[in-house]
Symmetry: C2
Subunit: 228 residues, 2 copies
């Protein structure tokens, strides 16, 4: 909003107004979208598309990844309910976005319709920029996470960040849509190390594991301390 918003919006704490605008935006753009459901591992889009659509994920989860030349998979984005994705970011790198869960629901916004909508209303343009800035935030967060010195810090940061996502933070028990392998490929460490870090966090009492994919955070501060 900041980079391109109207002057009145610059007096910041008008959160309601900002929130309303977001709602209006969602309503407007959903009017031009096509709903889809995807199966586990189903490809949603990839970097080959000459004319990429915009998408929003409604339920389930998706991952954006690239295969390194040595065969390893690098996940460069986790997509959770409410997140936009797919617009022409990072061209020519051979990335793929695919659903992680069965029944993952998405909305696809065809580019020519997004174009027309944006041309008709500057407010839409502002919100589209917000969407893209959000992606930049996520990527920077990932760089800062991967950049940590030790694997334990990376995993702790990952747990902190994912637990703050709007789609998870409300529930009392967090449910990871990701396997240990996915987390490993996101953090650029081995799945065994991820596993060991989770075990350590559990033994330290920083998280409680109800199952491999379900956990609670009894004391958020002690988790933050793990990141030093």
């Amino acid at each position: 909003m900041q980079g391109l918003s109207q002057a009145p919006a610059y007096h910041p704490p008008l959160y309601n107004r900002s929130e309303n605008r977001r709602q209006d935006f969602i309503k407007a753009i959903d009017a031009i979208g096509n709903h889809k459901r995807c199966k586990r591992r189903q490809e949603i889009c990839n970097g080959e598309d000459t004319l990429p659509s915009w998408y929003r994920l409604l339920s389930g989860a998706a991952r954006r990844f690239t295969i390194h030349s040595d065969g390893r998979r690098q996940i460069t984005g986790l997509i959770l309910p409410g997140d936009f994705f797919g617009f022409p970011n990072g061209q020519d790198r051979g990335w793929i976005i695919e659903a992680i869960c069965d029944g993952t629901a998405i909305v696809e916004y065809p580019p020519n319709r997004v174009e027309a909508l944006a041309a008709s209303d500057m407010e839409i343009v502002h919100e589209l920029f917000q969407v893209v800035f959000q992606t930049i935030s996520h990527l920077e967060e990932q760089v800062l996470t991967i950049g940590r010195a030790k694997a334990a810090e990376k995993v702790a940061l990952f747990v902190l960040h994912i637990s703050e996502h709007p789609s998870l933070s409300s529930a009392p028990v967090m449910t990871l849509p990701l396997s240990r392998y996915d987390i490993a490929d996101y953090l650029a460490i081995s799945p065994e190390t991820v596993c060991r870090c989770f075990t350590d966090l559990r033994n330290q009492g920083v998280i409680r594991l109800l199952g491999p994919r379900q956990f609670t955070i009894p004391d958020r501060e002690s988790l933050e301390d793990c990141v030093q």
Copy 2:
């Protein structure tokens, strides 16, 4: 351009037209910009700004970084001549952008003027999106580089990427504006390791070092082979 461009632009290989539009865009936006010169280590902008400007770097170099809680510095972006930066990407993370070289020249585009310009011409909006997508590309490239398994691969990829930058690729001898420490903080490895990797690349004949900051790439393919 793809995500928001006019229908005619979708027939891709109109590179000249695209290039011309870029030129027009630069001309238009430079008309609202303020030129500045910065000394080494001088701060250009930071994440505290409630209303961030857009910037473009003309000469010299800059780095975007965040200080980890353990005191280490993580560089999350290298800014070279021609690059845009500074718009509201990655809020609330306490980042700083500062000049690396003495005499670094930049143009600052005040946000309200960018706003007005965008509102007046949809073509400007398209180009601004291109600017932001470019930043996403760079960040993703960094994730893929940091995500490599071995330090030698990270350094080789770094050398490959920076040598492809428009502002460097034309010269016969590449001149790094960065110290080994900067490269280390960009790749999230220790400066000693960076140094050893450069030495190894030199001993393998993959690069020729004329000085710590100057090198040539006798055989690009063998450098690409270092990345596996």
